[in-house]
């Protein structure tokens, strides 16, 4: 009985989705506007977390028996860890070559 109380409890589904969409939009804005390359990686992590909140919310509210959303969230966490490692390695080698972390100066492939 307690489990039912917490699963479809007082907080509506829409509240979680609202938090997730706010977090995603903040991440998109930071991704576009950051000049520091490390902050760009942080914004990508924020966006991934927003997607994870969405997956977990639907898994708990709509797919409570099979919780496929939680499995997907575990996979997203795995891919995010791999992405962070490779992204920071690329950032280090960029810093070694250009001696800056300003995104505006990484324009070697620009037209």
């Amino acid at each position: 009985m307690n489990m039912i109380e917490t699963s479809t409890g007082t907080i509506p589904l829409q509240a979680y989705l609202l938090i997730a969409s706010l977090l995603f939009c903040i991440g998109v804005w930071g991704l576009i506007n950051s000049r520091n390359a490390v902050r760009v990686l942080m914004s990508i992590e924020l966006m991934l977390n927003a997607v994870n909140i969405n997956l977990m919310t639907f898994s708990s509210y709509i797919d409570g028996e099979l919780i496929r959303g939680q499995v997907f969230a575990v996979f997203v966490i795995t891919v995010a860890a791999a992405e962070a490692a490779v992204g920071l390695a690329i950032l280090l080698s960029l810093y070694r070559n250009r001696v800056t972390v300003d995104m505006e100066s990484f324009n070697l492939l620009r037209w």
């Binding site: 576009i32 902050r39 942080m42 909140i53 499995v71 795995t78 390695a89």
Partner: protein
């Protein structure tokens, strides 16, 4: 209103305000070290939201992987590239910020509209709560076995790729003599090609 529901509401309010204010701080604060620590706070608050959603295993994984690995990695990267540099002013930056802010606000409005107008099929089946860890293990070794194995291959590839990309000393040996070539000469001869010519 019972005490459990009010506790849940208070927890949700505190956690979501930490998430939103913390992520705003991550994006907006000028000092990047503060943003990295705030990012850790945001990850912890998201783990708290997972606990509210009856997902203790994913909350633990979130704390271990994000706070324990990704955030520490970001802090190490900040320490390795920590150079106080004056960013060159570029024209139209304010206009760009306003325009992208408008685009993001539009995206947010679209998402909120979808959120509040879609008739969600509620309530679904009851959440299984404590058995979730067992169920995740069953999923990982039956119907999600192939993605699980692919994830392990992906992690191996990412590990090797990160090592190859980030290490400084590429072992180049002279073909004629077999001795290793002086590394400083190679880096010195490579660097002038890559320095930005437009700044001079």
């Amino acid at each position: 209103m019972t005490i459990s529901t009010s506790t849940e509401l208070i927890c949700f309010g505190v956690l979501s305000s930490i998430v939103i204010l913390g992520s705003l701080g991550v994006v907006l604060l000028p000092n990047i070290v503060y943003s990295a620590f705030l990012l850790g706070g945001v990850f912890m608050a998201v783990a708290g939201l997972y606990l509210l959603l009856n997902a203790s295993f994913v909350a633990a994984a979130q704390v271990l992987v994000y706070v324990g690995a990704v955030n520490v990695l970001i802090l190490f990267a900040i320490m390795l590239v920590n150079k106080q540099e004056e960013l060159k002013p570029i024209k139209g930056l304010r206009l760009r910020k306003i325009f992208s802010g408008a685009v993001c606000a539009g995206l947010l409005a679209l998402l909120i509209r979808v959120d509040f107008t879609t008739p969600w099929v509620l309530p679904g089946p009851n959440a299984i709560g404590e058995e979730a860890t067992i169920r995740i293990g069953e999923h990982l070794f039956t119907d999600y076995l192939l993605p699980f194995e692919l994830a392990s291959v992906l992690l191996l590839m990412a590990m090797i790729g990160a090592i190859v990309l980030a290490r400084r000393d590429v072992l180049i040996s002279d073909i004629g003599t077999g001795n290793s070539v002086d590394q400083a000469l190679i880096e010195k001869s490579k660097t002038p090609l890559l320095i930005d010519k437009s700044s001079q």
